[in-house]
Amino acid sequence: MSPALKYTEAELVELLKHKSEEAFGALYDNYSAALFGIVKRIIGDEDAAQDVLQDGFVKIWKNIERYDSDKGTLFTWMLNIVRNKAIDATRSKHYKHQIRLDDSIVDKGDDRQVTQNEEHIGIKEAVRSLKPEHKEVLEVIYFGGYTQEEASKKLDMPLGTLKTRARAAIKNLRELLKDKVSEQ
């Protein structure tokens, strides 16, 4: 899906099982920035976010045999591990557990800290075109690290509405991404 990948996901998973440094390098290069972006938004603190990313990668490395491609993509599996680490960190170290909307490139258009990958520019544009209520719901859910109940409280909407909104947001995103892909 992403032209920057040197390996397909299946090849990468196979490579990781051999536990070579090359495999680690490939995994890190492909996913560290995306994962770090999320961890940073959940935690806020730069050093703490680096620690969480490190713990996350160590755990991913140790548990790679448990990854089951039938159950989802490698990224989703990795994200769940890293996100859980981030949530644990916010809860144990009393970081402010709040989503930092001001950090979001979507709102500020601030690309300084953001990876400048050519293939991501179209996606960024698509994300920028999301409706505000869709942006909000995705930000809170995806970068918040909340349970259903917490997210529903945070956004002040019933669980049913939250699910409908999330679905509409992702549908909107999918359409925008599809348009970007067909434009290129």
């Binding site: 680690f24 560290s32 994962l35 972006g37 991501h120 939250l162």
Partner: protein, 273 residues
């Protein structure tokens, strides 16, 4: 289940976004295993969210890559080599819980000891109760047997009494001959039914190879009226053979089974009607 409806419920989005509860997660994974449509939908959501994540990516400091690899390598070494330092820390770490755990452990041991003692006590109680019950049952058996024996004897006595009190029953006292002056027996004879009973009042216990024999003297001739054992039960009457009219009765000691003719020297008692 309507797959299209399930897809539009928003549950799959919740699942990919990490919001689903454990129960929902399992449900969705089962459904995905069964239905390709759900699998495809999940994959599409995952890919779009992955792209969304890439759009928000932030490159960590370049030194972090090497730092993480070192951490992975030292993790590998500690796993294959000497025991991990981390493990020691982990054992010491849950200090705040330890006092509670100690109390819990102490309470468990106390409960275990208490429960064991109670078990021992109850077991002893049960054993002695069981023994007492067995004794009581045995005693009851003895009493029941005694009661049965008493009832049999009572029924017999009633029968004998009824026989004795019939107007047609005659009691004939057989008195000891000069050789056995203490010997005494009574013959009850009913003239209507012709039934004959003998009651031993006092006869010496015979040797085991001998029995007493009752003779009815009919027209001057002794007629065999049966044998009896005086040792059996001296309180009870013994039914003897029937015969016609008799003038006298006599008892002799004979060979076991009786004799054809009485042994006159061994006569103990005699009585006339």
């Amino acid at each position: 289940m309507d797959i299209k409806e399930y897809i539009s419920s928003g549950n799959l989005e919740s699942y990919v976004l990490g919001l689903a509860s454990e129960k929902e997660r399992q449900e969705i994974e089962l459904l995905a295993a069964k239905h390709a449509e759900i699998r495809d939908e999940i994959a599409a959501i995952e890919i779009s969210m992955e792209q969304y994540a890439h759009a928000h990516s932030q490159t960590p400091p370049s030194a972090l890559k090497q730092k993480i690899w070192s951490a992975i390598e030292s993790e590998n070494k500690s796993e294959t080599g000497k025991p991990a330092v981390a493990k020691v820390i982990q054992m010491a770490a849950p200090a705040p819980q330890s006092s509670y755990s100690k109390w819990l452990a102490a309470a468990s041991i106390a409960l275990l000891v208490g429960s064991s003692l109670l078990n021992l006590f109850l077991f002893n109680q049960w054993t002695s109760a069981r023994e007492e019950l067995a004794q009581a049952n045995a005693a009851q058996d003895v009493l029941a047997q005694q009661f049965e024996a008493q009832q049999t004897q009572f029924a017999q006595t009633q029968q004998e009494f009824a026989f004795m009190t019939q107007p047609t029953t005659k009691a004939v006292a057989l008195k000891g001959v000069p050789a056995f002056p203490e010997a005494l027996a009574t013959v009850y004879w009913n003239s209507t039914s012709q039934d004959v009973y003998i009651k031993v009042n006092n006869l010496p216990t015979p040797p085991s190879d001998k029995q007493y024999q009752l003779w009815a003297i009919v027209d001057g001739q002794p007629v065999n009226a049966g044998v009896f054992d005086a040792r059996d039960n001296t309180a009870s009457m013994q039914k003897m053979k029937n015969f016609g009219s008799a003038q006298a009765f006599a008892v002799t000691l004979e060979q076991r089974g009786g004799s054809v003719a009485p042994t006159m020297e061994a006569m103990y008692v005699i009585g006339t009607i």
